[in-house]
Symmetry: C2
């Protein structure tokens, strides 16, 4: 049962696709303060603000918020939906790249809340006061959906039904991909391809970060390096490897650059109040931001992807689309003012601190987001009021264009910034994490929250983007990454080389990555099921064993699909880990060369040993999964090698399709052990 409430004049975000009428009256749970009805204790709030309150009970767990920091259970902290280019995901950070305002309270009462509001919104979930949840924003212009169900999981499934089917990428996107900020030349890419192929480590994609472009100009390639880009794309595809270029939100300001000139001519860029194009400095230097919320501009930008698809490209990642801003012209002017007022450094410490502070706060400044506007249906809307929709609409623009550019063909597409609704158009990667053990665990905890919000094709930079990875960290992280739909190793410029063949003894890496391919029929099948039935690909144990008190609290194991549980090792030097089994399970460790070992474990607590070259998984009681022989890329997987592991007598319904076409028929095959 879902009820929709309307407050003020909401912006239509398109998050919810199901037609629904708003009902009158007040929601059955919690209290709402909005508009002028501001309670005494809230006097500091501006008039017109919105605030939702709920008293949490001891046993309540709060799920949701998609790409948010900290636990599967969001209780105890404060989160802010405000898409941010945040490169340090330490435990205290309140905002990351996404804004996913869906939560489920599960305990004494069980219900879900979706706050459809495209600007900054704060979720205090028992932080200021342990027993109080407050969701608030500045303007009481939003839709609130209240979802009742039999369980948290049921609430999620109902929510997923109203927001539309999740994006399904082509099958090759379920292979393993390698990325690094800094690959520039053909030789760089060939070297990576050689490194994988010569070590027999499977690989399906190499990602092209910003350096493939000419001066970071969208939809260009470095002219000197790629005189015949299509031939190079074909050369790599010949080796079973797709090149996946990045596209940034900002368009370089440069006379003679057609994208810039067309954009200006068409009036497709975001403008200041005075009607001039807003200028922000990002990688290419000065750029304008396409107005993705404007239908004409979105269509124009989307069609530009054709320049690359025409050369054989089959996938993209959209980046910097919070949008990230290094600085604006206005910001630099302010810095210049600070500098000139400190010219003589006569105030010494104070002057230096002012310069440091101003220089250090130019990036992603809130003030800049109030300096430009979107033209939506003839209305000028200040960016900050719809900030959280920008990355979503960039990706929507691309996906809708793909329908025109390559009708019926599935292209790979994922984004950094997002809002609920974008899950219909692409996946996301969870941004610039670090080579920290704590981020391996954060990667795990985010997954079910993202699934709840419809984002199924998701993954983190395995091995960590910033800082230097160690061999052990990368191995353990890959062993977890085997189960994330997007499985990509990515690292930042200036960090240690992080390709799987860089750490000596490549056999261990080969064994781990091979496992991805051996499990691919299962993982792909479960992904298709989740997408087609509006379900979750991975779930917290609490959703599968809601009556099991211990399982409800587990935050370092997941259920993948319906058949398996995973419990990755996420601590340095560990020889294994503790794991909780809510039921009898078959414990399987997959190793290189299509080898595995298995044993049956009783329900309860166990310490299981897992070597760094093993991928552990647990098959649930009475279930089985398919396993094929490893291959060097998805297309080379030989379905004839399929066998079954798990419990005798178990059967499995496998979903598959051609992996290429949007309208590909889903084949369902039932096999038994």
């Amino acid at each position: 049962m879902i009820r929709k409430y309307k407050f003020g004049r909401p912006f239509e975000t398109g998050a919810v696709t199901a037609p629904m009428e708003a009902v009158q009256g007040k929601p059955p749970y919690g209290e709402i303060w909005c508009g002028d009805k501001v309670p005494a204790c809230e006097e500091k709030r501006p008039a017109g603000a919105f605030s939702y309150r709920y008293v949490l009970h001891d046993e309540d767990i709060v799920y949701g918020l998609g790409e948010a920091n900290r636990g599967i259970n969001k209780r105890g902290y404060q989160y802010v939906s405000d898409c941010t280019d945040q490169p340090y995901h330490t435990e205290d950070k309140r905002s990351l790249y996404g804004a996913h305002n869906f939560i489920v309270i599960s305990g004494r009462e069980t219900f879900g809340l979706f706050f459809d509001y495209p600007s900054r919104m704060t979720f205090d979930i028992g932080y200021e006061q342990t027993e109080r949840m407050t969701v608030s924003c500045e303007r009481a212009d939003l839709y609130l959906y209240v979802i009742e169900g039999d369980s948290a999981y049921d609430v999620v499934k109902q929510f997923r039904k109203i927001i539309g089917r999740s994006y399904i990428p082509p099958k090759f996107a379920f292979g393993f991909g390698q990325s690094r900020w800094g690959y520039r030349t053909k030789e760089d890419f060939r070297h990576v391809a050689d490194g994988y192929r010569s070590n027999r480590i499977p690989l399906d994609m190499i990602y092209m970060d910003i350096d493939y472009m000419q001066d970071y100009k969208d939809f260009t390639v470095n002219e000197g390096e790629y005189p015949d880009f299509a031939a190079f794309v074909a050369e790599m595809k010949e080796r079973g490897i797709r090149l996946i270029p990045i596209i940034d939100a900002g368009v370089k300001v440069e006379e003679g650059y057609p994208v810039y000139e067309e954009g200006v001519r068409g009036g497709y860029f975001c403008k200041r109040e005075d009607g001039s194009e807003f200028t922000a400095v990002v990688w290419p230097g000065e750029t304008h931001f396409p107005d993705f919320l404007n239908e004409k501009a979105a269509r124009w930008f989307g069609d530009l992807y054709r320049g690359l698809t025409d050369q054989g490209i089959e996938g993209f990642w959209n980046d910097m689309n919070e949008p990230a801003i290094f600085y604006s012209q206005e910001g630099v002017r302010e810095l210049q003012q600070v500098i000139s007022s400190c010219q003589e450094m006569e105030h010494g410490m104070e002057d230096v601190r002012r310069i440091q502070e101003k220089a250090g706060s130019l990036a992603n400044a809130g003030a800049d987001y109030k300096r430009f506007y979107h033209a939506v249906n003839g209305q000028m809307i200040r960016h900050d009021q719809v900030h959280n929709l920008y990355g979503y609409h960039m990706t929507k623009a691309a996906a809708e264009a793909f329908g025109r550019i390559a009708p019926n063909r599935r292209l790979l597409l994922f984004s950094r910034a997002s809002y609920i609704g974008m899950h219909r158009y692409g996946g996301i990667w969870t941004g610039d994490n670090h080579s920290w053990w704590s981020h391996l665990l954060l990667n795990l905890k985010m997954l079910p929250s993202l699934n709840m919000c419809g984002f199924l094709y998701v993954g983190a930079d395995l091995g960590g983007f910033g800082a230097d990875a160690t061999r052990e960290l990368l191995l353990r992280w890959l062993a977890f990454g085997v189960f994330t739909p997007l499985m990509r190793d990515h690292a930042a410029l200036g960090t240690r080389d992080q390709e799987a063949y860089r750490f000596g003894d490549t056999e261990a890496f080969r064994g781990i990555i091979e496992t991805r391919y051996r499990l691919l029929p299962y993982l792909y099948s479960e992904y298709l099921k989740a997408a087609y039935t509006d379900d979750m690909y991975c779930r917290p144990l609490a959703f599968v064993y809601p009556e099991d008190d211990f399982a409800r609290g587990v935050e370092d194991q997941l259920i993948i699909g319906d058949e398996i549980m995973i419990a990755p090792v996420y601590t340095e030097h560990a020889k294994g880990r503790y794991v909780y089994l809510p039921e009898e399970m078959r414990f399987v460790k997959l190793k290189k060369d299509n080898y595995y070992i298995e044993e049956t474990l009783e329900p309860g607590h166990h310490y299981v040993e897992v070597a760094v070259d093993e991928v552990p998984l647990f098959i649930r009681a009475g279930k089985c999964i398919p396993l094929v022989d490893a291959a060097q890329c998805v297309e080379e997987i030989d379905r004839q090698t399929m066998k079954w592991i798990g419990f005798e007598g178990a059967s499995y319904e496998r979903y598959d399709d051609d992996g290429v076409h949007a309208d590909s028929r889903v084949r369902r095959t039932v096999d038994s052990m």
Copy 2:
């Protein structure tokens, strides 16, 4: 068996107190490259560099490095001994505030290495290559001590014998202390005292961070606020609370400020090559750094503490003594040059980036540490060559002065920067951590490593210094902090209020902190034993159960003293944790109001439940510990309430002394259950 090797012309650091002759020949383990004998693969090293290599075996564990990042087992990463004011202790950081060059290799071969070298030194412990350990530094002027023993623990005990007895603080310093950067007025301090006393939460100390001073001038107090500081100190002591002021390394440059004027007159400050005083900006604005390596200057500075001890102060914390530098005059000149070359911002992005980079890299710049000198025995020594001794010598200066100022009286003293040798003069706190769950665990992992290097009176900022704590984090961290000799809650300016009475339901906090006082006879006794027998106060399980393969790998449990094992809860939302028992143990959960529950657990793996208001501990088989009733401060502990918990028939030898005098006789009492 300890052998000492000499390379080049080492600086005499005073770390080792036992007289030892250097031996000829090469060490029995590993290989050394030094001076001109640089191997081919090391050609990039400057001539004259030093490098020690050892091939690690699969089973080897490497212990040590004191206040270093990451695990108890240091394998797999690279660490740099280079005392640094590093405010973000993320997992990738290589240097923190201390330089503790002692490691123990434990595995196929077991031996210890102490590199007595006071400048920057790199420990690559299987990071670049899994099986290779390389210890290197720029100049081959050092002593290397190679220690052989029956076990890692035996090697540690031998090492501790040659570096002199660890510092023993007064007994009140084993109470609980509250701190916050931002306490300024008498009312601020009274408010904290009231908060604790009115809620019946025990408290022994309130720390005075920089704001108690007049303009951050060492050995001053705010004149308007504390016209009679001695009376205020007495007022607090009347309530059972000691005030513990901070002393920073830098002395404010200000005409008329006696410390500055005396320092200049005496030539006590570090000088540039041209003989002028080096000026660095820190909290007070422009400061000079006392030359603590110069005996006369050290004596002068140490005697200045009398200004505060004469007013009743009985303890200090020495801060900013890496030394931390916000910027130097030279650095600001460079910034000005960058700014003037970018005046017109004609290069746009490039100019802004140059200003940002320069402004952002002024602090703790390596170049600044080459700009000033120490006068040691008539020689001018450039600071960077002895950088890691600065905090050590500041604290040594203070401790030696205390012997003159308050003969035979034990004063509390701890420092931020340190080097082995300083453990004889004071303790350390582990600097500016964060309110992150990962830092609770880091706190635990650092403790035994610090103990190995002689630092017994140690602790981290409980609840975390930077960022906002949550109620649950603070409770869990305090429950662990009960066992750290320095037990202090400290938080940074601008973060959430973090005193134990700030989070509602203060009863839970009272119960946790009371536990510290109930265990104090045991904790103090074990501390005295460790100090007087050159032993460790807390040990990794590997040192106590070396034959137990599983115990050797445990990195989240510790043995405290000889009787108990701890296994704190360090994850959010957890209802308990897994724990490994190498032997039968009595599991005790201490609660408020002198209540506890206990049960006997078999050896092996367990999941134990621990509520947020409980302090868990495990009494080892056949042992017992004393427990007293809680008190509001250390002096109020009533020894008559002592009872015993543990195993029937067990006996315990308790050490005690008057807690006040340096020459207090240690009383040993044996009691049985």
